[in-house]
Amino acid sequence: MAERTVTNQAEPVAAVATVEGGKRQRSHELNALIGLVGIALIFEILGWIFQGQSFLFNTQRLSIIILQVAVVGIIAIGVTQVIITGGIDLSSGSIVGLTAMVAMSFAQVGTYPRAVYPNLTDLPVVIPVLIGLSVGLAAGFINGALIAYTRIPPFIATLGMMVTARGAAKWYTRGQPVSFPTDSFAAIGQGMTPVIIFLAIAALFHVALKYTVYGKHTYAIGSNESAARVSGISVERHLILVYSIAGVLAALAGIVIASRGLTAQAGMGVMYELQAIAMAVIGGVSLSGGRGSIVGTVIGAAIFGVIISGFTFLRLSAYYQEMIMGAIIVAAVVADVYRQRYRTSAR
C-alpha cells in the first residue's frame, strides 16, 4: 500500500514542470505554486484516509516543515544562482560540515574544559560567524576561480571541493565533534530564527537577481556565455562572485545548523547539495542555465519540505523516503529536459 501511494506522489512534481509547455506560457513560479498546493492537498486527503487526521492543519507539523526547508533553503538560494549561470555546485553540503566545525570551534564556552582553542573561548558571536562565513567564501572563491580560469566543468571543480571540504572538516578536530557553544551563538538557530534568515536571504537575492546588473549578467552568462563575453561582461569575475556567494550561503547554513544542534560534526550537511539542487530544479530553475528565479526556488523548497514531511506523516519508512527523493530529483531534471526540447522545437 505504501508504495502505491508513493508513486502517486512523485507524479505531480513532474507535472508541475511540464504543464508549462502550454501555448501561452504560464510562469514557472505559478506552475510550481499550483504543484505545491496540489501536493499538499493530496497529503491532506491521504492523511484523512490513512491517519484519520489533517496533514496541513497542525501547527507543529507546519513549523517543522518550514524549519527543515529553511536551512537547506539557504543553500538552495546560492545554488540557484550558480545553476542560472549554467553551472552546478556539489560542494555546498561539505562546506556546511566544514563551516559548522570551524565556526563552532570559535564559539565554545570557557567553562568547557576540552575546547578546541582553550584560549579563545567566550568570544563575541560575530567572530565565529565571520570566521565561518570566510571559510565558505574561500571555498566558493576557489570553486569560482577554478571554473572561470581553468575552464574545467563546474561539476568536476565542485566535486573536488566536496571531497576536499569534507576531508578538511574531519581533519580539523581529527573527527571529534565540537560542542558547547556560547548562548549568543546558540541563539542563531533557535526558534524560528533560521526561517527569518532564510526569508531575508531569499528577499535579498530576489532583488539582486531581478533588479540589478548582477542579476542581468548572471542570466546572460547562463543563457549564452560567448554573447555575454562579447558584450563586455567579465564572465570570469562574475562566475567567481556567484560561486563565492554560494559558498557564503552554504557557510551560513552550516552556522545555523551547528547553532541549532548545539554541536558540530564533520558529517553534517551530507547530501544537502543534492537537496538544494532538487529544490531549485523543482522550482523551475533550468540545469542548462539562463532560467529560474529565487521565488521559484522558495516554492521548490516548500514542495520539497511538504513531500518529506508528508512521507513521515504517512509513516513511510526512511529508506523509501530516500529512494523517492532520488526519483524526484531525476523526475525534475527529466521534466526540465523536455521543457528544453519543447522550447527549441517551438522556435
Binding site: A208, K216, Y219, A227, S231, G232
Partner: protein
C-alpha cells in the same frame, strides 16, 4: 592621417592558429561613409579578419589603425569603446533575456553605481530600445518577450539595432542574413541601406554576391588567408569577383554557387 578620411586601416595583419596561416599580410582600408563587403570562399580568412579588428582575437602580427591612430584591441570591449560595433553570426544574444536587456547587455543603464549590485533603470533601457528599433525600422511586437521566443529575423534585427544604436564609427556584420528567409533578408538589407544614408561605415561579410552588389561600394576578395584584390562594385561584375574568389581568371559562369 586622420585628415585623409580613412576610418579603418590594417597593415600586414596576420593571424596564425598554430601552424595554420588563417590570415596573412592583410592590408585593408575603409573610407568614411563607405560600405564595403568582404567575400571569399570558406576558410579564406574573412571571419578571422573580422575577429582581429573587433578584438575577439589578437593578431599574430600587423597593425590596426582606427581614426588615424594605431590601436590594439585586447578584447571586444576595447573595440567597442572606440566606436566599433559588431554583429556576429550567432553568438551575440542571450536567449533568456528580453529585447532591452539584450540591446543593453554589458552596458546597462543604472540608477546609481553600486558596482555589480547597481539597480537597473529598466524604464530608460526600454525607452531607448524602442527608439533604437524605430531608427532602424524594426518592428517587434513585445519587447518584453524573451529573445528565445522570436524568429531568426527578429533576433538578427535586434542584434543589428543594438549595433546600430551604439556604433558611432563603424559597424561590422558577419553574414547577417546567412540564416534568414527572403523577407527577413530584405528587412536586414533595408536596415543596411538606412545606415548608408546615415553615413555610418560598414563592413559586410557575405556569401551572397547579389546582396553584395546591391549594398556596397567596394568588394574586398579574400582567398586562402590573403587579400586577393579590391573591386569597385559599379566597375566590376560577378564574373570578375568569382574569378578572384576561386583564383581562376576566366570561364566562370553566372550560376556558380556564389551567385
Amino acid at each position: 592621417m586622420a585628415s585623409d578620411g580613412i576610418v579603418l586601416k590594417t597593415e600586414g595583419l596576420t593571424k596564425y592558429y598554430g601552424g595554420v596561416h588563417a590570415l596573412e599580410d592583410a592590408d585593408f582600408t575603409l573610407q568614411e561613409g563607405e560600405h564595403v563587403a568582404i567575400v571569399g570562399d570558406n576558410g579564406a580568412g574573412k571571419s578571422t579578419f573580422v575577429r582581429q579588428i573587433t578584438g575577439v582575437e589578437q593578431p599574430t602580427a600587423g597593425k590596426i589603425f582606427f581614426d588615424g591612430k594605431e590601436v590594439t584591441f585586447g578584447s571586444p570591449i576595447d573595440a567597442r569603446d572606440v566606436g566599433i560595433e559588431a554583429v556576429f553570426q550567432n553568438l551575440a544574444l542571450a536567449d533568456d533575456l528580453d529585447v532591452p536587456s539584450n540591446i543593453f547587455l554589458g552596458r546597462e543603464e543604472t540608477y546609481f553605481n553600486l558596482g555589480p549590485f547597481s539597480f537597473l533603470n529598466e524604464k530608460k533601457m526600454y525607452k531607448r530600445s524602442m527608439e533604437a528599433l524605430e531608427r532602424t525600422g524594426v518592428k517587434i511586437p513585445n519587447l518584453r518577450n524573451n529573445i528565445a521566443n522570436m524568429s531568426g529575423g527578429q533576433r538578427q534585427c535586434v542584434a543589428i539595432s543594438r549595433a546600430a544604436s551604439f556604433a558611432s564609427k563603424l559597424i561590422i556584420m558577419d553574414e547577417p542574413t546567412a540564416a534568414l528567409g527572403v523577407q527577413e533578408t530584405t528587412q536586414v538589407e533595408n536596415i543596411i541601406r538606412g545606415l548608408k544614408k546615415q553615413g555610418i561605415p560598414l563592413i559586410l561579410v557575405s556569401h551572397n554576391l547579389r546582396q553584395v552588389f546591391n549594398l556596397v561600394d567596394k568588394i574586398w576578395v579574400f582567398r586562402r588567408g590573403k587579400i586577393a584584390g579590391m573591386l569597385e562594385a559599379d566597375k566590376t561584375d560577378g564574373n570578375e569577383v568569382v574569378s578572384l574568389i576561386t583564383g581562376v581568371k576566366t570561364g566562370v559562369h553566372e550560376n556558380a554557387s556564389y551567385i
